[in-house]
Symmetry: C2
Subunit: 174 residues, 2 copies
DNA sequence: TATTGTTATACTCTATAACTATA
DNA sequence: TATAGTTATAGAGTATAACAATA
């Protein structure tokens, strides 16, 4: 008789001893992917109690700081397609954390607002996330601030290459 | 009559003027996400001609550098579940770029190898990716090397927090 | 009993396309 | 004709669970 499979989450993109990573080890992009993978898992650990993904956390913050914002603007700020912003908003309203109200100046649009429950949830999440980030920066020491500045510059540089006038036609994401 | 929707890829996680990002702007994790988003789109632009995702590119490199490697080891190296490694391998073999051969020492396992076509495709991809990375590093100047080192340290630090003996139980990825 | 790989299934994320109502 | 949001659908990506063959 075979044992029932144990849960097998993995997800840790650790370098495996004995595996040759070839060109990957030299790539800035691969280092970035490894770091993002590790931070993603760490974010989940830090917020395990509240079960909210980084994306949904970001949406809560944006709606809280920009009450009445349009669904489409939320999508634009988060790099999402309209349909993605719709599903994200659906989820937040289903949790009872956000609500759609008619926009006064445009009958086609909604204004998004956090509910009282949403504000309470966000307050807990923000505390956990801030503590998590603080612990990371502390572990990195003085390298931390430089790293954050470097990442911001990298985002800018990569975007500039992507939107340069003379580059090849852009392909859709898969 | 309504116009047919034009394609609407978006995906650019640019800061939107007039939107207040609140706590997000201060978080290392959010800076990392923005950078990864920008680099991801830039990778696609640089490799548009060959239509291979970063993940599939990494799999090609790993199989090329570790001929005969097990499917499970590929998954482990890439942070994938067994079933994910299976689907990735299925896709690579369907393209005619990789093949499964019986492992000599274990009748349950496969050894993975690139085909001649797979090696040719990888050579083109590696050239494009290396050039892409070189351009990025050049744009970053002396900050580039420090950034890469910082990312590697960040991955290590976040993993250490995640696997520390006294932390809370880990939740599954969503 | 544990491991390798498979099959089947499901959920999330994100896209495309076509549609409605409004501007 | 363009925009805000919706619906329906599809494809990655990744997970769970149960299974067979082998170790």
């Amino acid at each position: 008789m075979t044992k029932t499979d144990s849960p097998d989450p993995e997800g840790l993109m650790l370098p495996v001893p004995g595996v040759d990573y070839g060109a990957l080890d030299g790539l800035l992009g691969y280092a970035l992917r490894r770091a993002q993978n590790a931070l993603y898992l760490d974010f989940y650990r830090a917020t395990a109690e509240w079960d909210v993904s980084p994306q949904r956390f970001a949406a809560l913050v944006l709606i809280a700081r920009n009450p009445g914002m349009r669904q489409g603007l939320l999508g634009q700020a988060m790099g999402l397609h309209r349909s993605g912003a719709l599903r994200l908003t659906d989820w937040l309203t289903a949790q009872g954390w956000a609500e759609r109200r008619d926009a006064p100046d445009d009958a086609r649009a909604w204004g998004l607002y956090l509910t009282a429950a949403g504000k309470r949830r966000l307050a807990k999440l923000e505390a956990a996330v801030a503590e998590h980030d603080r612990a990371l920066l502390a572990a990195l020491g003085e390298q931390g601030a430089a790293l954050k500045a470097g990442l911001e510059r990298l985002a800018w540089v990569a975007t500039a290459q992507n939107t340069a006038p003379d580059n090849k036609p852009r392909r859709q994401k898969p």
